[in-house]
Amino acid sequence: MLLIAFALVCSAPFAIQAEPTELPPQLQPAPGPATGLSDSAGLRATVFGTPPDAMAPLPAKVPLYEINMTLPWRLPVPEILWFDGKLRVWLSAQKKPAPLAIVISGTGSDGNNKTISVLRAALYGAGYHVLTMPSPTFSGFIVSTSSTGVAGDLMQDGHDLYAAMQQIIAHLPRKVRITDIDLLGFSLGGANAAIVKSIDASEGKLKIHRVVMINPPVSLFSSVGRLDRLFSATIGPGEMGVELLYRRLYAQIANLYRASDRLQLDQNFILSAAAVTLKTDAEFSQAIALTYRLQLVDMFFIGDLYAKTGAVIDPERQPKVGDSLEDIQRDLRAKPFADYFTKVFAPYYLKRRPEATSASLIAANRLDIIADALRSDGDYYAQTNSNDLILNKRELDWLQDTLGSRIIVYDHGGHLGEIGDRQQVADMLDMLAGRWPRSGQ
């Protein structure tokens, strides 16, 4: 009875879209299609990832330590978030001295998901100690590690990450002997990794060597704004459209299950049934937009709880253990990321940074705050795709112009759909080892 079909979380059809609220001009999504540079193949790859036959060979066995830490600067943990009080990271250690590769997860994700497991295995197989960390936008990180409780500010999150890394490395078992430290990150984690390196360049506490960003965003808010737009375009503003999406998916999965000769509805079948029903670009877009929206819901909730901004939680009557959160959850699913910015993020940071404006907060969440370092320091590398939906043409051009020969742009994969394929893994390892650009390229 403990059996739980957990798989649907990523494709679960439960979201409500409200009309977008008034946006400051800087938050108006960038022009161009809501799918950025993505094409049909890119959307498909974003949903399904690297096909099994294209995967790089991975080691048979990867040992794993789970590390749970209480960090000294942690803010008081709200009672209803009792389970998020410790930072949880994962370590795969070599038996002999080796360089340490730290991998930072993407938006809203923890340090032990499927994508990160592939990277961990590839890096461990290449002889690295591998430490995988959650994204600073992951609930467990916000509660256990954030010094503000309001996630999404690149510099602030970078400082929190950097401080946490120092604590973790200081507490590693003595038998883990580290010769060098490199950083990797995918999606938002890529931008986080680059920022952490730039912080380390001035503070020098970890002596981080190389950084590889995999499918990084250039402007956080224009990427997420585009995904908001994708949501309202494909799932539709208004409650009816979404209720219909849920009902349609439910009926489809139920019909497929009834027509199959299976006697139990297991996770594989649910996922396959959902996959079979995904046919058009619009349906792939729905799946992607919904996945992002669900990843933002937790961050929005926790930010509002900490900042006491009252966007969805009455600061005077905070929910207690045992209270139903369903209405709050539904309410949040209806809210675009722009609402998080205008109702939680901006009020919180404007109060604490008197010199800041909405526009400056948005500008501070662009990778070009470290443009000089990216341009002049030869230890920053990037891998991305020409059909990545979180980028537009101008942003991709900027990355290529800034990083020069230190970026490789694949012609497939969409967003993160190339992770683990032979070429991506080989290039990533060469970048980390300083063998890039390869001679003859």
Binding site: F6, P57, L58, L64, M69, S139, S272, V297
Partner: protein
């Protein structure tokens, strides 16, 4: 023996509650190469089933009037048949505290014990798993009969006989190799088969997400096994160990961890998924079994 087990469980619990700055523990190693091969195979099988099912499901929609040789068409569910997005949960306050208790118990005792168990050699674990699966087969035979799904009941009976004999008391699942795959059922499914609605959502302490109907089904299944008392296991000297070992075996085979997603809304999400999954299984139960004879009088496509 009993005392030793209780003391070590207590120590594990204390270890789980200890609040140190940092805890580092070994968890089962990942096996990416084997996992991706196994996952690819399972996915491919499920995907093939889903594609085949899509073809079958599409048939009545095509509106073909002639009667087929295959199973007669079942009326398709429409989006209007989907249950509302809210879940009936009148006992939410109790359920939430049970959920929290389960999460804490799992993190402090259940999961560490299961992870330790997972270090035992694979054949040993497979033996334990098959053994309990074989005992449960008795209950499946009874319930398939009660559900009047005699084809599957016969299959369970064959499995029981083959695995108890050639499989040496159920330690080896030989029947699966003879193309008789195990598909356990229980009294909850019997109740569903005869039209009982799941009822309110229920989180059972130590067991996890359920509904009133599924909880009753669980009790009945246990009662049946206790009553039959196979080989004196349920009322003999080792009966105290039976439940825990069965539970640990089950836990070790479930890839779920409470709050691994860190989400404040995990209770809502799990409730949503659990109940929808059971409702779809119910729909399958009726859709698969209802039309026993070619439904000539039922217009296709309805």
């Amino acid at each position: 023996m009993k005392a030793a087990v209780i003391v070590s469980m207590g120590l594990l619990a204390l270890g789980g509650c200890a609040s140190q700055v940092v805890s580092i523990r070994t968890v089962p190693a990942q096996t990416p190469a084997a996992d991706s091969a196994a996952a690819a195979a399972a996915n491919a099988a499920a995907f093939a089933d889903a594609v085949a099912a899509e073809a079958v499901a599409a048939e009545p929609a095509a509106g073909s009037p002639e009667v087929r040789d295959g199973p007669p068409a079942v009326p398709l569910l429409t989006p209007a048949d989907a249950p509302p997005m809210y879940t009936y949960d009148p006992w939410e306050r109790f359920n939430r505290s049970a959920y929290r208790f389960n999460a804490r118990f799992d993190e402090a005792i259940f999961l560490p014990v299961a992870n330790t168990y997972r270090r035992a050699p694979r054949p040993v674990r497979a033996g334990v798993h098959n053994f309990f699966g074989n005992i449960a087969e008795i209950d499946s035979v009874i319930n398939y009969t009660l559900q009047w799904r005699l084809k599957y009941g016969l299959r369970s009976l064959e499995r029981l006989v083959i695995n108890s004999t050639i499989g040496i008391g159920g330690l080896f699942d030989v029947a699966t190799k003879f193309k008789l795959p195990g598909t356990p059922t229980g009294f909850a499914t019997t109740l569903a088969k005869w039209g009982m609605h799941p009822g309110p959502y229920l989180v059972i302490p130590l067991l996890g997400p359920s509904t009133l109907r599924d909880g009753v089904g669980f009790l009945a299944d246990y009662g049946a096994e206790y009553g039959i008392n196979v080989a004196g296991l349920y009322r003999g000297n080792v009966s105290w160990a039976l439940g825990p070992v069965n539970a640990i075996d089950q836990r070790a085979n479930i890839d779920f961890r409470y709050y691994s997603g860190g989400s404040p809304f995990e209770y809502e999400t799990i409730r949503f998924l659990y109940v929808r999954r059971r409702l779809i299984e119910d729909a399958g139960l009726h859709g698969k079994e209802l039309p026993k004879k070619p439904a000539v009088d039922a217009p296709a496509g309805k």
